[in-house]
């Protein structure tokens, strides 16, 4: 496990990331109302939600720049939560 941390970005980077997230949210909101996207609606929404999740965690929460240990702690927790999610839905045959 690495113990070194990298420098955090400057305010300009946060503004650009914020703008990107706003654009992504606009696409996300438009997707359910765009008929031609109906066949790929669910995977597209999940992909965009996942992208926003990763961007906020990596840049705003500094996981990209901080100690790798934090990244591991959070990744393991999220993976565990997803496992619980899948097991619960599978047990109740809701998947």
């Amino acid at each position: 496990m690495a113990t070194t941390a990298h420098a955090h970005p400057a305010a300009k980077t946060y503004w650009l990331v914020g703008l990107g997230l706003a654009v992504l949210t606009a696409f996300e909101i438009a997707t359910p109302y765009t008929d031609m996207l109906d066949p790929v609606r669910a995977p597209l929404l999940i992909a965009m939600g996942l992208a926003k999740f990763v961007i906020v965690a990596a840049v705003f929460m500094h996981l990209k720049y901080d100690l790798k240990g934090y990244r591991w702690v959070f990744s393991i927790a999220v993976a565990g939560a997803l496992l619980v999610f899948a097991v619960v839905l599978a047990v109740f045959q809701a998947l």
Binding site: E28, A42, M48, G49, V56, V59, F74
Partner: protein, 203 residues
């Protein structure tokens, strides 16, 4: 702590570069707690998905107003940006700028809560109560607990502003802002998941 031409701080956080074990331990504890919160919300979202079609005689997902919730989502997302800018300002020891961004984040958080109260009121008038159906129970439990987390965050933000005004947020205490920021961003990413899974995928 100077901003270099490539837009990156030349120095790391003091607590990182010095390897202060207390700061590192507090931050690790925060991440572990956020990890446990992931399980909490994961279980809540699973429960909602299990009961999403169990609406009984009451309304289901058709009651959602996507344009309204989209606006709330945008507000919360932007509050994450103002929070990171506040954190950035305090790292640069710019207390005034930090307070402005903290104030903005607080206002956006309050706007989100107000929107949620309005939304809940509309749903209750539309016939969706906690006791109406398993769908209603799981929906209100999930979004209500998330709303409580936002309210807790707003309280912490208000305390940070008060500390800063009293001069109790010196650079060596900048970690407090970073920990609250981590919490706030976590609440935001949980909402990103809720908005996608509970609202957008159900219409």
């Amino acid at each position: 702590m100077v901003i270099a031409s490539d837009g990156i701080f030349e120095e790391e956080h003091d607590f990182e570069s010095t390897g202060d074990p207390i700061h590192r331990t507090r931050k690790t504890a925060m991440w572990v707690w956020l990890g446990s919160e992931s399980f909490f919300f994961g279980a809540m979202i699973s429960t909602f998905l299990l009961y999403r079609h169990t609406t009984g005689a009451g309304p289901g997902a058709e009651i959602f107003s996507i344009p309204f919730t989209s606006a709330s989502t945008f507000v919360l997302l932007m509050s994450s940006m103002t929070m990171v800018l506040a954190d950035n300002a305090f790292q640069r020891s710019d207390q005034r700028q930090g307070r402005i961004w903290l104030g903005g984040t607080t206002l956006l958080g309050l706007t989100f809560i107000a929107g949620q109260i309005f939304e809940f009121t509309e749903f209750v008038h539309g016939g969706l109560k906690m006791s109406t159906s398993p769908f209603g129970s799981s929906f209100y439990m999930l979004t209500g607990f998330h709303g409580l987390h936002v309210a807790g965050g707003v309280l912490m933000l208000a305390m940070l502003i008060a500390f800063s005004l009293r001069g109790r947020l010196s650079p060596d205490r900048g970690m407090n802002v970073e920990l609250v920021a981590l919490y706030w961003h976590f609440v935001d990413i949980v909402w990103i998941v809720i908005f996608t899974v509970v609202y957008l995928l159900q219409i």
